[in-house]
C-alpha cells in the first residue's frame, strides 16, 4: 500500500512540475534530474510490486516507463527521454561486463557444444523462418508493396535477421533477479552473447545485399572493413580495458563501483564516436577479467551497487520509449512474427540441445531464454530505417511493435522457465551434497526465488 501511495504522490508531484512552465519551454538541467529521479523511484516501486505478484521486476520497470512515458500519462516528456538515453550506453556496458565476468571458459567448456548447436540451429534456423514469414506476409506489409521478388527477398532477409536478435540485458537482469545458477542459465547467457555477434555480422551482410538489390550500391569491401574494425577493434580494446580494470582492482578494490561505472560511461560515449561496439568492448573486458585474473568475484560484488540504478533507469527509459502506436498499426503482422519467432527459437533450441546431448533442463527451457528482445533489435531497426529511407520508417514500425511485445511478455516466460527448471535461487544457496547432485530427468518444480526484502507488503 505504501508503494502504491508513494507512486501516486510522485505522479502528482511530477504533474505539478509539468504544469509549472508553458508547453514547449525547453527542458532545463533540473527537469532532466527531476525526470531521472522520478523514473528511478517509480520504476523501482513498480518493480517491487510486480515481484510481489509473481512477475519479473524488469517487467515492472518497463510497465512503469510505459505508463509515465509520452504515450500514456506523459509525465516524462520526449525531450527529456532523449537525454536520459545516456543511460543506455552505460547500462549496456555494465551488462556486458557482468555477462563477460560470468563466462568462465573452464566451466563453460562442457556447454560449448550446446551453445554452438543452439546458435546454429535455433538462431540461424529462426532467421530463415522469419525471413520466409515476412516474405509470405507481404500482403500485410504496405512498405513491401511495389518491391520486386529479389528486392522483397532481400528486405525480408534483413528483417529476419533484425527480428531474431536477443537481449543479453534481459537475461542478465533475470538471472540476477532470480538468483539462478546452473547449466540452463549458463547456456542461455553464452548463447545470447554469441548470437549477438552472429546477428551483427549477418545484419551487415544482409544489409549490403539488400542495398545492392534496391539500388543502394553498397561497397562490399568497405562494409567488410568497417565491420572488421567494429568487431576486432572492439574486442582488442576490450582486452586492454580489462587489463586496466584488473590493474585498478589490485590496488583499489574498494572504489571499483565508481571506476567501473566511469569506464562504462567512457566506453559507451567514446566508443560510439569511433565506431566501436560498447557491448563487445566490455564483454571482452569481462571475459579477460574472469579468465586471466583473480579480480572477477570482487569486481562483480563491487559493481552490484552501481548496477541496480543503471538497470532500473535503462529499462524504465526503454519502456517510456516503446512505440505503442506501432503495436496497434502492425498488430497482425507483429503477432505472426512473434508466433514464428517463438516457435522457431523454442523448438529449434530443443532440437539443437537434443543433438548436442545437453542436460534435460537445457532441452526443455533454453528456448525461452532466447525470446526476450531489447536494445540490439531496436538499434538494428533504427539502422534499417536510416539505411533504407524509402521504406525504413514503416518497416521499423513492425520491428518496434515486435520488440515492444517481446519486451513485455518474454521476460515473464523466461522467469517461469527458470523457476520450473529448478535453477532459480540456487546462486546463493548452500552447496548440494554430492549424492543429490545427479540431474533428474524431470526436475521437480523449484520453490519461488527467495525474497531479499523482509519489508511490509505494499
Amino acid at each position: 500500500m505504501i508503494r502504491i501511495l508513494a507512486m501516486v504522490a510522485l505522479g502528482f508531484i511530477m504533474h505539478a512540475a509539468n504544469e509549472f512552465l508553458p508547453d514547449g519551454t525547453p527542458g532545463s538541467a533540473g527537469a532532466i534530474t527531476l525526470a531521472c529521479g522520478y523514473l528511478l523511484l517509480t520504476a523501482f516501486l513498480a518493480g517491487s510490486l510486480f515481484k510481489q505478484i509473481g512477475l519479473p521486476k524488469l517487467t515492472g520497470y518497463l510497465a512503469a516507463g510505459i505508463v509515465v512515458g509520452p504515450e500514456v500519462l506523459a509525465l516524462v516528456q520526449t525531450e527529456v527521454l532523449g537525454t536520459l538515453k545516456i543511460f543506455n550506453g552505460v547500462a549496456v556496458s555494465l551488462i556486458a561486463l557482468t555477462a563477460g565476468i560470468e563466462m568462465h571458459f573452464g566451466s563453460m567448456r562442457p556447454l560449448l557444444r550446446s551453445i554452438g548447436w543452439i546458435t546454429a540451429i535455433a538462431v540461424l534456423g529462426t532467421t530463415l523462418l522469419l525471413t520466409a514469414a515476412v516474405f509470405a506476409s507481404q500482403g500485410l506489409l504496405p512498405f513491401m508493396a511495389g518491391l520486386s521478388f529479389t528486392q522483397a527477398a532481400a528486405v525480408s532477409l534483413v528483417l529476419g535477421v533484425t527480428l531474431v536478435a536477443q537481449s543479453p540485458a534481459v537475461v542478465v537482469a533475470l538471472r540476477d533477479e532470480t538468483d539462478a545458477e546452473g547449466p540452463l542459465i549458463s547456456t542461455v547467457m553464452g548463447t545470447v552473447v554469441i548470437a549477438d555477434m552472429v546477428v551483427i555480422v549477418m545484419f551487415a551482410a544482409a544489409s549490403a545485399i539488400a542495398q545492392n538489390a534496391t539500388g543502394g550500391g553498397a561497397d562490399v569491401m568497405e562494409t567488410l572493413g568497417t565491420l572488421a574494425w567494429e568487431l576486432f577493434g572492439s574486442i582488442g580494446i576490450g582486452l586492454v580495458v580489462g587489463v586496466l580494470i584488473a590493474a585498478y582492482m589490485r590496488s583499489n578494490a574498494g572504489s571499483s563501483a565508481l571506476f567501473v561505472a566511469a569506464v562504462s560511461f567512457v566506453v559507451a560515449e567514446v566508443g560510439q564516436r569511433v565506431h566501436l561496439d560498447p557491448l563487445l568492448v566490455m564483454l571482452a573486458a569481462g571475459i579477460l577479467i574472469r579468465n586471466a585474473t583473480r579480480a572477477a568475484d570482487t569486481l562483480h560484488h563491487g559493481i552490484e551497487a552501481a548496477a541496480l540504478p543503471v538497470y532500473v533507469a535503462f529499462f524504465a527509459v526503454a519502456g517510456a520509449t516503446i512505440h505503442l502506436g506501432a503495436i496497434v498499426t502492425m498488430a497482425i503482422p507483429a503477432l505472426i512474427v512473434i508466433a514464428v519467432r517463438s516457435s522457431g527459437l523454442v523448438l529449434g533450441s530443443r532440437v539443437a540441445a537434443r543433438m548436442a546431448g545437453a542436460p534435460e533442463v537445457v532441452k526443455r527451457y533454453s528456448g525461452f531464454g532466447l525470446l526476450p528482445q531489447a536494445g540490439l533489435a531496436l538499434a538494428l531497426g533504427l539502422i534499417f530505417a536510416r539505411t533504407f529511407p524509402q521504406f525504413g520508417a514503416q518497416a521499423s514500425a513492425l520491428i518496434f511493435g515486435v520488440v515492444a511485445l517481446n519486451e513485455l511478455l518474454a521476460p515473464i516466460a523466461f522467469r517461469i522457465a527458470l523457476i520450473r527448471s529448478g535453477e532459480a535461487g540456487k546462486r546463493h544457496a548452500p552447496p548440494v551434497v554430492a549424492s543429490e547432485a545427479a540431474q533428474p530427468a524431470d526436475p521437480p518444480p523449484a520453490p519461488p526465488a527467495s525474497d531479499p526484502e523482509p519489508g511490509p507488503v505494499a
Binding site: 505504501i2 533540473g30 528511478l40 572488421a228 574494425w229 576486432f232 559507451a268 536494445g375 540490439l376 526484502e453
Partner: protein
C-alpha cells in the same frame, strides 16, 4: 611451472593478444573507415549500435556560454563538408579519454592516504587541497583549447549539478540534530552572533557598495548579490575536535546522565542553517521574472518548506519498506534526484529543499538510519567531485571585478569574525582560547561555494554572478593562506580541518558522547565524537 600457472606471463599474453587483435582491426578496417569519413563528410551510422544513438544536443539557452564556447559548439555542425567529421570525432575521443583518465587519476591521488597525510601535516584544509583541484580541472577541461568538457558534453552532464547541490543539502540536513537545540550550551547566542550575523552584515555592506555602483538600484540586484556573499561568509570549515578538548558536560534534564554537546559543532550547524535560510529568501524574493507560477515572494518560502516536507514524508515512507544496501542506495539516489531536480526546475534552491528533507528524515524515529547513512556515504564523494568539476567548468575567473570583490570579502569576513569573537571571549568560559581562535579564523566552507553555484545556476544569470563565484572561490584560497600564516605566526599547530572537504556525513555530529540509548557498553569513552548521525528512538 607452465605459463598457465604464472600470473606475469598471463598478463603478457593478454596484452599481446589485445595488441594483435587491435593491429588486425586497424589494418583491415581503419583505412576503410577513414576513407568513408572523408568521402561522406559526416559520421555514418555504426553497424553495431547496440545502444540507441545519442541525440545531438540542441544549443542550450544558457547565457553562461561564452562567445567562444558558442563558436566551438557551432563548428562541428558547419556546412563545410570538406572537413571530415571522422577525424573530428577521433580527436574528440582522444581528448575525452585523456581528460577523463586525468580526472580519475587525480581523484585516486587526492584520496590516497599519503596525500591526506601531507594535507594534515601542512594543515591545508581539504577545501583547498581537494575541492579547488577539481574546480581547476573543470575550468581547464572546459577551455576551448583543451576541449575535453565541450559545451556538448556539458549539456549531457549538467543534470549532475542539481544532483550535487541536492546531495550537499541532504547531507547537511541529515547531520542536523534537532535535539541539540533543546539544550544549547551557554554562550551559544553570543558566539552565533559573532560568527554569523556580524560577518553577514559586514560582507553585505563591504561588497554591497561596489555592487550598487555597478548594478544600480534597479531591481535591487546589488542587494541580492550582497546577501549571497553574506550567506557565503557565514559558514566556516569545522575543525576536527578531539575528545581531549571537550568542554564540560551538561547534565541531561530527563535521564540525569552526563551528556555533552560540542558547542563548536552546534555553532557550525547553526551557521549552515542561517546560510541556507538566506538562500531560501534570495530564491523567493529574487526569482527570475515571469517564469512559471506567479506567486507572492513570501509564498515561495512556504512552497520551499512544503516541498521539502512533502518529499521527506514520501521518502521516509518508502525507506521503511526496503532493507538491502543496494536498494537503499537506489532509493536515496532517486529521492535526491527528485528533490533537487524539482527544486531546480521550479527555480528554487536544491540545497535548501534537500536540507529540509534530510533534516526531517533523519530527525524522525527510524531503525534504518544507519543503513541510509552508509548508503549516502558510499557515493557522496564521487557525486561531490563531479559536481566540483562541473562547477569549475562553469566558472569564468577572467573578470578582475571578482578578484577585487574577493579582497573586500576576505577582509570583511575575517575582520568581523575576529572582532566578534574578541568581544565574546570575555566571560565565555565554555570554550578555550584555541577554540575561540579557530572560530574567528575559520576558513571558508565548501557550502559557501555551493551556495553561490546554486544561485548562479538557476536563480539568476548574469555577469555579476560569475564575479561572485570568483569572489568566494578566491576568498576560500586567500582565507586558507591567511589562517595558515596567522596560526603558524603564533607558533600554534595548523588546524586539522574536516574530513572529506565537504559537509558530508563523514563528519561528527553535535554529540560528544552517544545518547544514552546508543551506548552499548559502560566502557564507551566520553568525548569521542560519533562518526554518523545517531539513530534509534528519539
Amino acid at each position: 611451472m607452465s605459463w598457465r600457472q604464472t600470473r606475469a606471463p598471463r598478463w603478457g599474453w593478454c596484452l599481446l593478444a589485445a595488441t594483435a587483435v587491435l593491429a588486425l582491426a586497424l589494418v583491415l578496417g581503419g583505412r576503410a573507415h577513414a576513407d568513408q569519413g572523408l568521402a561522406d563528410g559526416g559520421s555514418q551510422p555504426t553497424l553495431l549500435e547496440s545502444t540507441a544513438p545519442v541525440p545531438s544536443p540542441s544549443l542550450p539557452t544558457n547565457p553562461l556560454l561564452t562567445d567562444s564556447a558558442a563558436e566551438q559548439m557551432k563548428a562541428p555542425h558547419s556546412e563545410d563538408t570538406s572537413v571530415s567529421a571522422a577525424p573530428i570525432e577521433r580527436d574528440y575521443a582522444v581528448r575525452a579519454i585523456i581528460g577523463l583518465v586525468a580526472i580519475f587519476v587525480l581523484a585516486y591521488a587526492v584520496g590516497h592516504p599519503k596525500v591526506q597525510r601531507i594535507e594534515d601535516m601542512l594543515g591545508i584544509s581539504s577545501v583547498v587541497a581537494t575541492g579547488f583541484v577539481f574546480l581547476l580541472v573543470g575550468l581547464l577541461a572546459s577551455r576551448p583549447s583543451v576541449g575535453v568538457l565541450s559545451p556538448q558534453m556539458l549539456v549531457h552532464i549538467e543534470p549532475m549539478l542539481p544532483l550535487g547541490l541536492g546531495w550537499i543539502g541532504f547531507s547537511l540536513g541529515a547531520r542536523f540534530d534537532l535535539r541539540a537545540l533543546e539544550s544549547l550550551p551557554p554562550g551559544t547566542s553570543a558566539r552565533l552572533f559573532a560568527t554569523t550575523a556580524l560577518p553577514f552584515a559586514a560582507v553585505v555592506v563591504a561588497c554591497g557598495l561596489p555592487l550598487l555602483i555597478v548594478s544600480g538600484f534597479a531591481k535591487a540586484e546589488f542587494l541580492r548579490d550582497a546577501i549571497l556573499l553574506g550567506a557565503a561568509a557565514m559558514v566556516g570549515v569545522r575543525p576536527r575536535s578531539g575528545g581531549a578538548e571537550a568542554p564540560s558536560a551538561t547534565p541531561a534534564p530527563d535521564t540525569g546522565d552526563a551528556r555533552a554537546v560540542d558547542p563548536v559543532a552546534v555553532i557550525h550547524q547553526l551557521q549552515e542553517v542561517s546560510a541556507i535560510l538566506a538562500l531560501v529568501l534570495v530564491a523567493a524574493f529574487f526569482r527570475p521574472d515571469s517564469l512559471g507560477w506567479q506567486l507572492p515572494a513570501i509564498a515561495w518560502v512556504f512552497v520551499t518548506l512544503g516541498m521539502g516536507t512533502t518529499l521527506a514524508v514520501i521518502v521516509y515512507a518508502v525507506l521503511s519498506a526496503f532493507r538491502s544496501p543496494n536498494e537503499v542506495t537506489l532509493l536515496m539516489l532517486g529521492s535526491i534526484c527528485l528533490s533537487a531536480g524539482l527544486a531546480s526546475h521550479l527555480y528554487m534552491s536544491p540545497i535548501a529543499v534537500c536540507f529540509i528533507a534530510g533534516a526531517l528524515i533523519f530527525n524522525l524515529p527510524a531503525t534504518w538510519r544507519r543503513g541510509v547513512s552508509e548508503a549516502l556515504m558510499r557515493i557522496e564523494r564521487p557525486i561531490y567531485l563531479v559536481f566540483l568539476v562541473i562547477a569549475g567548468a562553469r566558472w569564468q575567473p577572467g573578470a578582475w571585478q571578482g578578484w577585487a570583490l574577493m579582497l573586500l570579502f576576505v577582509a570583511a569576513r575575517l575582520g568581523s569574525r575576529g572582532l566578534g569573537m574578541h568581544l565574546v571571549r570575555r566571560g565565555d568560559d565554555a570554550l578555550d582560547q584555541e577554540h575561540h581562535s579557530r572560530l574567528a579564523l575559520a576558513p571558508v566552507s565548501a557550502l559557501a561555494i555551493a551556495i553561490v553555484v546554486d544561485a548562479h545556476s538557476r536563480l539568476y544569470l548574469g555577469q555579476v554572478g560569475s564575479w561572485i563565484i570568483t569572489t568566494v572561490i578566491g576568498g576560500a584560497i586567500a582565507t586558507e593562506i591567511i589562517v595558515q600564516l596567522a596560526v603558524r605566526g603564533r607558533g600554534g599547530e595548523p588546524p586539522i580541518t574536516e574530513v572529506g572537504s565537504h559537509p558530508g556525513l563523514a563528519n561528527a555530529n553535535v554529540w560528544e558522547t552517544a545518547p544514552p540509548e546508543e551506548r552499548t557498553s559502560p566502557e564507551s569513552s566520553p568525548g569521542e565524537p560519533s562518526a554518523k548521525p545517531t539513530e534509534g528512538k528519539r
